[in-house]
C-alpha cells in the first residue's frame, strides 16, 4: 500500500483560556465571592451563562500538515508549549481537534505515561492484566505474552504482592514491560522514558526498535531526551509555537533546535497556572550575589528558586530537579529527599523552595533542567520542562590549569592532603 500510514491535514487545536482562580469551581469559593462581592458575582455569572464572557483564545496547534510512511520512526521535539503533547493527544483521540483531519491506517496504541491505571492495591499480576487492557490489548493477547512480560520486567518474585509495596524501580520496570509488548501498527509515545533507570530505558528502546524493524511498525516519539531521539529516529519534526518549524533528517533538526534553545534561556521563568494538582508558578536562577542570572560563573555557588502552589493536599511527594548536559544525557537527578530520606506532605497553599548548587559541580557547558513535584511511584503532580542555564568560565582560579572546559562531566574539586614522609 502506497498511501501514507498517517496523514495529518490542516490540523488545529484551540483552547479557550478562562481566567479562573483555582483549579475547579467549588461551592465554598463561590459563596465566599458572593458574600464579598454580590453584584460583581451576579454580573459575572450572567455573562458566563449567556456566553458574553470574553475569553482569550490560544491556538496550541495550527495548520499542521504531515504525512508519515509505514515503518518510519519519527521524533517530535520542541520547547515547552510547542504543542508536542497536544498533537499526541489529538492523534490518540483523547482530545478532539478544532479543525482539520487525521487519517491513520492501522491499529493505533499510545503510551503517554507508563503504568496508566496501575492500581496500588492490586498485585503485579493483576496490574499486568488491567494495564494491558487499558493499553488496548485483549485478554488472550495478555495471557499469551504474560510470561515474556514477567521475564522482561524481572519482578517474578513479587508477582503476587500489591504494587504499593514495590520499590519505585520495580514499579517502573513492570509498567514498561507491559507497554513494551503492545503490538499496534502505529505507536505514539510521549516522554515516558524520562523516568526509570538508564539501563532499563535502553533495554526498552532496544526492544521497541527491534519490533518496529521486524514488523514495520510506525512510531511517533515525543521526547526531551535528544540522545534517545537521535538513536532511534531517522527523521524528526521540530515544533515551535504550534507550527512545524522543520521536518527532516534527525541530526540536522536537533542542531537547529539546540541553537534556538540557546537563545531561549532566561533567569526568571514565570508560568501560567496549570491544570495539575500542583502548579509550578516560577523558576528563577540567582548567582552568588543574589542577582537573577542565567550565565553562571563556574567558581561560585548559585541558587534555583522554585515557587509552586498546591491546589489540594499532596502526600508523599518530592521536589525533583533533573539536569541534562548539552549532549542530552542526564547529568544529575536531584530531589529534596536525597538529604532528608523522607517524602513530604504539602497542604493546600503556596510554597517556595530554594536550592543551592555548589560551585564546580557543573562543568562549563549549556544545561537544561526539568522541575517537578512527584512521588516515588512516578506520579507527577506538576512539572516544568526544558529550562536552561549556562555555566561560564569566569572568575575561575583553575583556569590556570585548563583552557575551556574541564575534562569529564563534573568539575568538582576533591581534597588533597600531600605530606612528605
Amino acid at each position: 500500500m502506497n498511501k501514507p500510514i498517517i496523514e495529518i491535514k490542516n490540523l488545529g487545536k484551540k483552547y479557550n483560556i478562562t481566567h479562573q482562580r483555582g483549579g475547579y469551581v467549588a461551592l465554598r469559593d463561590i459563596l465566599g465571592n458572593i458574600i464579598r462581592n454580590p453584584f460583581r458575582f451576579a454580573r459575572h455569572k450572567a455573562k458566563q451563562i449567556t456566553g458574553a464572557n470574553t475569553r482569550e483564545e490560544f491556538w496550541a496547534l495550527r495548520n499542521l500538515n504531515i504525512e508519515i510512511k509505514q515503518g518510519e520512526i519519527i521524533g517530535i521535539i520542541g520547547n515547552n508549549g510547542a504543542g508536542k503533547s497536544t498533537l499526541l493527544k489529538i492523534l490518540t483521540g483523547i482530545t478532539p481537534p478544532t479543525e482539520g483531519e487525521v487519517i491513520m491506517r492501522g491499529k493505533v496504541a499510545s503510551l503517554l505515561e507508563v503504568g496508566t491505571g496501575f492500581h496500588p492495591e492490586l498485585t503485579g499480576r493483576e496490574n499486568i492484566f488491567l494495564n494491558g487492557a487499558i493499553l488496548g490489548m485483549t485478554k488472550r493477547e495478555i495471557i499469551r505474552k504474560f510470561d515474556e512480560i514477567v521475564a522482561f520486567s524481572g519482578v517474578e518474585k513479587f508477582l503476587d504482592t500489591p504494587v504499593k509495596y514495590y520499590s519505585s524501580g520495580m514499579y517502573v520496570r513492570l509498567a514498561f514491560s507491559v507497554a513494551a509488548y503492545m503490538e499496534p501498527d502505529i505507536l505514539l509515545i510521549d516522554e515516558v522514558l524520562a523516568v526509570g533507570d538508564a539501563d532499563f530505558q535502553k533495554k526498552c528502546l532496544g526492544k521497541m526498535e527491534d519490533v518496529s524493524k521486524e514488523t514495520g511498525r510506525t512510531i511517533l516519539f515525543v521526547s526531551h531526551n535528544l540522545s534517545a531521539v537521535k538513536n532511534i529516529c531517522k527523521r524528526c519534526i521540530l515544533l515551535q509555537k504550534g507550527k512545524i518549524e522543520a521536518f527532516g533528517e534527525t541530526g540536522a533538526i536537533i542542531d537547529q533546535y539546540l541553537s534556538s534553545a540557546q537563545s531561549n534561556k532566561k533567569a526568571v521563568h514565570i508560568f501560567d497556572k496549570q491544570n495539575t494538582p500542583v502548579s509550578i508558578d516560577s523558576v528563577s536562577l540567582y548567582d552568588n550575589d543574589g542577582r537573577p542570572q542565567s550565565d553562571l560563573p563556574i567558581s561560585e555557588n548559585f541558587r534555583i528558586i522554585v515557587e509552586f502552589s498546591c491546589k489540594e493536599k499532596i502526600q508523599d511527594a518530592a521536589i525533583s530537579l533533573v539536569f541534562y548536559s548539552s549532549d542530552q544525557e542526564i547529568f544529575l537527578y536531584s530531589t529534596n529527599v536525597d538529604t532528608t530520606g523522607k517524602y513530604g506532605t504539602y497542604e493546600k497553599g503556596q510554597y517556595k523552595a530554594i536550592i543551592t548548587i555548589p560551585a564546580f559541580l557543573f562543568n562549563i557547558d549549556h544545561y537544561t533542567f526539568d522541575v517537578m513535584l512527584c512521588t516515588p511511584k512516578i506520579t507527577i503532580f506538576g512539572e516544568q520542562k526544558g529550562l536552561s542555564f549556562e555555566i561560564v568560565n569566569i572568575n575561575n582560579p583553575r583556569s590556570i590549569n585548563f583552557r575551556g572546559k574541564h575534562l569529564g562531566k563534573t568539575a568538582f574539586p576533591l581534597f588533597y592532603e600531600i605530606d612528605q614522609n
Binding site: V25, T92, G93, V108, L112, G117, L122
Partner: protein, 273 residues
C-alpha cells in the same frame, strides 16, 4: 492494515459509538473486575459489607418505622417489606452516586488513554449490581423465614425491574458524571438529593398511600420498580403493569437525556477535567 481511524473535530452520536463499546467490552470487564477487587481490600469482613449495610438499615427501619411508628405495609411483615424496597433503592442510589464521580476518580486514565468514556459509568453501575446480587441473598433467606413464595409472574417481572433500575442509574449517572466534570457542585448536591429522594420513593411506606395520584409518583422510576417488586415477590398487591409502563417510559427519557448529554461533552473531558 485492518483498521482506519479518522479523527475530525465534530462527531455526532451514531450507531458506531455503541459498536465501539462492544469492541472495548473487555476493558469494561476489567474495570468492573478492578472495582470489585479493590473495594474490599484491607477490610476485615470483606464482601460481607455488601450484606451488612442493607441488613442493618432494615433492622433499624423495622424497629423505628415498623414497630414504633407502625407505618402500614400492605399486610406484609414490615422487615421483609422494607428490605425489598431497600434492596432496589440502595442499588439505584449507590450506583447513582458512584457513577457521578467515576470520571473524576479515573481522571489519570482519562487524560492519558483513549477509550469510549461510556465504559466507566457502565462499569460502576455493574459493580453495584454485583452488590445487589449479594444482598439479594438476605431477601431469599427472609422469604423462606416468612414463608413467601413468589408466583410465576413475580419471577417474570424481576428482570424487567432490574433493567429499569439499571437504565435509570446509568441515565442519571451519565448526566451527573458529565456535569461533575465541569461543576464539582454535583458532589455536594447529590447526597442531599438522594436523601430527599428516599422519602419521595415508597421504600419505608407502601405506594398505596398515594392513592389516586400514584401515577404521578411513578414518574420516579424507582417507585414503579419497588411497588412491582413487592407485588411480584410478596404478593402484596396485584402487579400494576401501567405503573411499570410509566416508570419504564420515564426511565427511557432519563437514559436518552443522559446519553445525549454525555456524548455531547464527552470529547472535551480530557481538556476540562
Amino acid at each position: 492494515m485492518s483498521k482506519t481511524t479518522i479523527i475530525r473535530p465534530k462527531k455526532t452520536l451514531s450507531i458506531n459509538d455503541f459498536r465501539e463499546i462492544w469492541t472495548y467490552r473487555e476493558l469494561l470487564y476489567f474495570f468492573i473486575w478492578r472495582d470489585f477487587k479493590v473495594r474490599y481490600k484491607q477490610t476485615a469482613i470483606g464482601v460481607l459489607w455488601a450484606i451488612f449495610q442493607p441488613f442493618m438499615t432494615m433492622v433499624v427501619f423495622s424497629l423505628f418505622f415498623g414497630k414504633l411508628l407502625k407505618i402500614p405495609s400492605d399486610g406484609i411483615p414490615y422487615p421483609i417489606f422494607v428490605y425489598t424496597g431497600l434492596l432496589f433503592w440502595q442499588f439505584f442510589s449507590s450506583a447513582l452516586s458512584e457513577t457521578s464521580s467515576v470520571l473524576i476518580s479515573n481522571q489519570a486514565i482519562i487524560t492519558k488513554v483513549y477509550f469510549p468514556r461510556l465504559i466507566l459509568p457502565l462499569s460502576s453501575v455493574a459493580t453495584k449490581f454485583v452488590d445487589f446480587a449479594i444482598s439479594a441473598v438476605i431477601l431469599v433467606g427472609m422469604m423462606i423465614y416468612y414463608n413467601y413464595a413468589p408466583h410465576f409472574m413475580g419471577i417474570l417481572v424481576l428482570p424487567i425491574l432490574l433493567i429499569i433500575t439499571f437504565m435509570a442509574a446509568v441515565g442519571g449517572g451519565l448526566f451527573l458524571a458529565a456535569l461533575n466534570v465541569k461543576y464539582r457542585d454535583v458532589r455536594y448536591a447529590l447526597p442531599f438529593f438522594i436523601q430527599i429522594m428516599l422519602f419521595l420513593t415508597p421504600v419505608i411506606y407502601p405506594a398505596s398511600i398515594a392513592g389516586e395520584y400514584s401515577w404521578l409518583l411513578a414518574l420516579n422510576p424507582m417507585m414503579g420498580v419497588i411497588q412491582a417488586a413487592r407485588a411480584g415477590l410478596l404478593g402484596a398487591t396485584p402487579i400494576n403493569w401501567s405503573l411499570i409502563g410509566i416508570s419504564f417510559f420515564a426511565t427511557a427519557v432519563i437514559l436518552a437525556v443522559g446519553v445525549v448529554y454525555f456524548k455531547k461533552v464527552e470529547r472535551y473531558f480530557a481538556d476540562i477535567i
